[in-house]
């Protein structure tokens, strides 16, 4: 089967039940997508599949024929995505482990809802756990990035 990952066409011939998470991490060495629970409960492995946020640990390879997968490494080449900039400006991460998933989830949220309310952010982000507790900085960074992106397209 074939799919694209961060714009690169890839062929996969392993166990079709393999979750995308382990294909990304073990085969492609795209280790920015993190393992947190293996059960779709924490969001650390969030990527985009055809533009939608998805849990890589719950996405078997057999469902990904011709799909476009984007990981944190593909979000921008140089940490220049408005969310990445906002994340740095707000010093959001503590340990940093969950942050790729948080950013990918937030990117999907902003692409649907460019000007999210607090409620939109809570609804969109509550599937992503941060054990360090960076939630209020995440909320602020999403708002800042939304404003930044809107400013640039206006």
């Amino acid at each position: 089967m074939t799919l694209t990952v961060n714009g690169v066409s890839r062929t996969f011939d392993g166990d079709p039940d393999t979750p995308l998470l382990w294909y990304l991490r073990d085969d492609l060495r795209l280790t920015g997508t993190r393992f947190g629970c293996g059960a779709g409960l924490c969001g650390a492995c969030t990527v985009h599949i055809d533009g939608q946020a998805a849990r890589a640990c719950q996405s078997p390879m057999k469902g990904l024929q011709s799909k476009r997968v984007v990981t944190i490494e593909g979000l921008s080449p140089d940490a220049s995505h408005p969310l990445q900039r906002a994340w740095m400006a707000g010093n959001v991460p503590m340990c940093g482990y969950c942050q790729s998933g948080q950013i990918m989830q937030a990117a999907a949220l902003l692409s649907r809802t460019p000007n999210p309310t607090d409620q939109d952010i809570e609804r969109g982000m509550s599937g992503n756990i941060c054990r360090c507790g960076t939630y209020q900085r995440i909320r602020a960074a999403i708002k800042a990035a939304g404003a930044d992106a809107r400013g640039r397209t206006a």
Partner: protein, 755 residues
């Protein structure tokens, strides 16, 4: 992998100034090869650095300053913050500073990154390192120009002769500085606070950009050539052994190579691997699939009688009887016997799991009787000890590279998972990565213990206690190293039990026996969690029993500010290993954080009730003073929302304010989450919870919406940051729930009692 460069000890005598903190061997400088090879040139460049006045700091001829971070980075920012201290004293340009993570080596002194003491123990060491290097660079420049050193100043990575305007960069001076005599520690001068460039200023974490780009390297990201993957089915009951294994279906899984039976530890369990059956294979997915198909029959061992509810009953029984006296002031019994009004309450807290977002993981490589480990560990020297013991080699033959940690909270001080990887690598003759799943992490943690805490007070006409008795009982941390341990150790009784700070004439604190049936380990704030929750809940109960405002009552209880001398009343008091002369228990500082939190939070401005309430508590731990004011809204269905938390900390000099602020925001989230939602329970010796659906942690929709952090300006030496935030939050949230609903919940998870 490591470049060891021997330098003349005689030239390095000045580092005797660093020896005050312990074992700094300065005859060799080890430049750890980067565990993740972010920049292969780093090692070579560091090795040629001409000037390296100690293990912490090196300056290259091109001016690059290398500073070694010897403590582990798990989110506190310490990997950035300690080097900042040295860079500030050095007057270095931060953009030319490279931080290298130390391998485990006793020459760095203590590397066990727990107990909230990195800054307390190493602030001065890093200042000395920076000031020494600066002094030598200035001397070298002065000699070159033939002017007195006093006529020269260091400024932003160069030395300037003010009279002539001549200047030389640090790189150009490095070789000459390395050759000159070293100043004695007493000859060093430190920058005045007004000249601080980095300390006390907002400073982003060194790893910020790699983290938001996904390129930061955690333990899970380490890969070695020829590496195999391993996932271990552990005995479900502590100390259980494998009776029989059926692995036919496991071996049929594509990519699975073999299974390996692992010995169960001999007591004490300490950091030893649990034992069980390892599934080995070519990929993570293969071994996880293989494990699912593995059938193991277990010999369960001695702990199948452990079930949480009856165990909690037993602890409650224990604290209802006289226990071992750990603090005795006045005569509590005589006061109780007077027949005045008595208030009493029993609190109980369940087990909790650390649940760092990165589950335990380690890569180990056995080659010719030596082992190299790459791991997210809080304690690389314990990795050396534990691995050496597990595979039967000398600890000098264990090299431990420390990656970034995806959270720690105390779990990653215990390197059982590293030893598992080493044992398997020795057995298989290949590099092995051991991956723990979330289920493994929650079922086989070193749990924060379950506890019972009892409080009883005799009160006067105004409701003020004239006698106060407290007792706690919980399986002690000592059980790790001593299977017969039943009573809390010095550390645990010093965490909110014997150091009850209130101004009461008769006080007795007791600790009762309890046996551990799962692994018990320290968890962020440790015994402060159960003790502070109970103590400050009870103080709030006393206030309400007296119909007095909790804040006014607390300030009355604290009494006039004083230094609490526990030396005769509680001779076992440990003060977090710190000298009481330098870090006394000072109730003035406790009063001040409390008053400040009340002021910031607008205490008393809104009438509690009808589903809204605020609670307040202040607690000293890890030598820091923290007050917390929590507001809650409780809806008709018992759902809790936390619109605001005020955190006020007096932790001495604040080196990296933004990272410190983050730690107190973190404490508000973890503290409210722990008290409201989290619990781990056992049935027949087996842990019931398995993942984040049944072990609930704070999420964005349950965490405090806004946490404000205030620091008390202080000249006092820096004290704990990572842990002391949670204890007051635990009680403040319970007190807020009471204010909002009239329900006093004395056990966790609080939210469960509201629905």
């Amino acid at each position: 992998m490591n470049v060891v460069e021997h330098v003349s000890v005689s030239r390095r005598q000045f580092l005797g100034g660093l020896l005050s903190t312990g074992a700094f061997v300065i005859a060799a400088r080890v430049v750890p090869a980067s565990a993740w090879g972010q920049d292969p040139t780093v090692t070579a460049r560091a090795a040629t650095a001409a000037f390296h006045p100690g293990v912490y700091l090196g300056i290259e001829p091109d001016g690059t300053v290398f500073i070694i971070a010897h403590r582990s980075e798990m989110g506190t920012g310490i990997r950035t913050t300690l080097p900042m201290v040295a860079a500030d004293e050095l007057d270095a340009d931060w953009s030319r500073v490279r931080i290298e993570q130390a391998i485990g080596d006793p020459k760095y002194g203590d590397q066990n990154t727990d107990g909230s003491r990195s800054m307390r123990d190493f602030y001065q060491v890093f200042r000395v390192a920076g000031a020494t290097a600066r002094t030598m660079l200035v001397s070298a420049a002065a000699a070159q120009w033939g002017v007195p050193a006093s006529a020269c100043v260091a400024a932003n990575h160069e030395v300037v002769h003010e009279a002539s305007g001549r200047r030389l960069g640090y790189g150009a001076l490095a070789s000459a500085a390395a050759a000159i005599d070293v100043p004695k520690p007493e000859a060093l001068t430190f920058k005045p606070r007004s000249a601080w460039k980095y300390v006390g200023k907002m400073h982003p974490a060194y790893d910020l950009q790699p983290i938001v780009s996904g390129s930061a390297m955690f333990g899970h990201d380490v890969v070695r050539d020829g590496m195999v993957y391993a996932s271990v089915e552990h005995p479900p009951v502590l100390g259980g052994k494998v009776r029989a294994v059926e692995d036919k279906d496991t071996l049929a899984v594509r990519g699975v190579q073999q299974t390996v039976a692992l010995d169960t530890f001999e007591l004490p369990y300490r950091y030893k691997p649990l034992g069980g059956v390892a599934v080995i294979g070519a990929s993570t997915w293969a071994v996880l699939q293989g494990r699912r198909k593995l059938k193991v029959a277990w010999e369960d061992g001695p702990h199948t009688g452990f079930t949480s509810a009856p165990f909690a009953e037993q602890l409650a029984q224990t604290v209802s009887q006289p226990c071992k006296v750990m603090r005795d002031l006045g005569d509590v019994d005589a006061e109780f016997a007077k027949g005045g009004r008595i208030v009493e309450a029993l609190y109980s807290t369940p087990m909790a799991a650390h649940a760092p977002m990165e589950p335990p993981v380690a890569v180990a490589e056995w080659v010719n009787g030596k082992v190299t480990v790459w791991a997210p560990t809080q304690n690389p020297q314990a990795v050396q000890d534990t691995v050496a013991q597990a595979v039967g080699i000398d600890k000098k033959d264990v090299t431990c590279h420390v990656t970034l940690l995806g959270g720690g909270f105390g779990r990653k001080s215990k390197p059982d998972y590293c030893a598992e990887a080493a044992v398997l690598s020795k057995r298989l003759g290949k590099p092995v990565k051991v991956i723990w799943t979330r289920e493994d992490d929650l079922k086989f943690d070193y749990f924060h213990t379950t506890a019972a805490v009892y409080h009883k007070a005799a009160v006067d006409a105004r409701g003020r206690p004239t006698a106060w008795l407290t007792r706690s009982a919980f399986p002690p941390l000592g059980g790790m190293s001593d299977p017969t341990a039943r009573f809390a150790g010095r550390g645990e009784i010093s965490q909110g039990l014997v150091d009850l700070p209130f101004d009461v004439p008769n006080i007795r604190a007791e600790n009762g026996p309890a046996e551990g049936h799962v692994r018990i380990g320290w968890f962020r704030a440790v015994a402060n969690n159960q003790h502070a929750f109970a103590l400050h809940s009870f103080a709030d109960e006393l206030a309400h029993a007296a119909s007095r405002d909790p804040l006014e009552f607390l300030l009355d209880l604290l009494g006039p500010g004083r230094i609490l001398d526990l030396s005769t009343q509680a001779p076992m008091y440990g003060n977090y290993g710190a000298n009481v002369a330098v870090h006394p228990v000072d109730t003035r500082r406790l009063r001040r954080v409390l008053e400040t939190a009340a002021e910031r939070g607008g205490w008393g401005k809104r009438k509690p009730g009808k589903g809204w309430g605020a609670g307040i508590a202040a607690h000293r731990s890890f030598n820091s003073y923290v007050a917390s004011l929590v507001e809650v809204e409780v809806d008709d269905k018992g759902g809790v929302r936390i619109p605001r938390v005020e955190m006020v900390a007096d932790a001495g000099v604040i080196v990296n304010p933004d990272r410190v602020r983050a730690q107190f925001e973190s404490a508000a989230v973890m503290g409210t989450g722990l008290a409201l939602y989290g619990q781990i329970t056992a049935a027949a010796g087996r842990i019931i919870q398995s993942n984040f659906h049944d072990f609930q942690v704070a999420r964005m929709n349950t965490a405090p919406v806004q946490t404000n952090v205030t620091f008390i300006e202080s000249e006092a030496p820096p004290t704990g940051i990572g842990e002391p935030g949670t204890p007051p939050v635990l009680a403040a949230v319970a007190n807020a729930v009471f204010a909002a609903t009239g329900k006093r919940v004395r056990t966790w998870p609080i939210a469960k009692a509201l629905t």
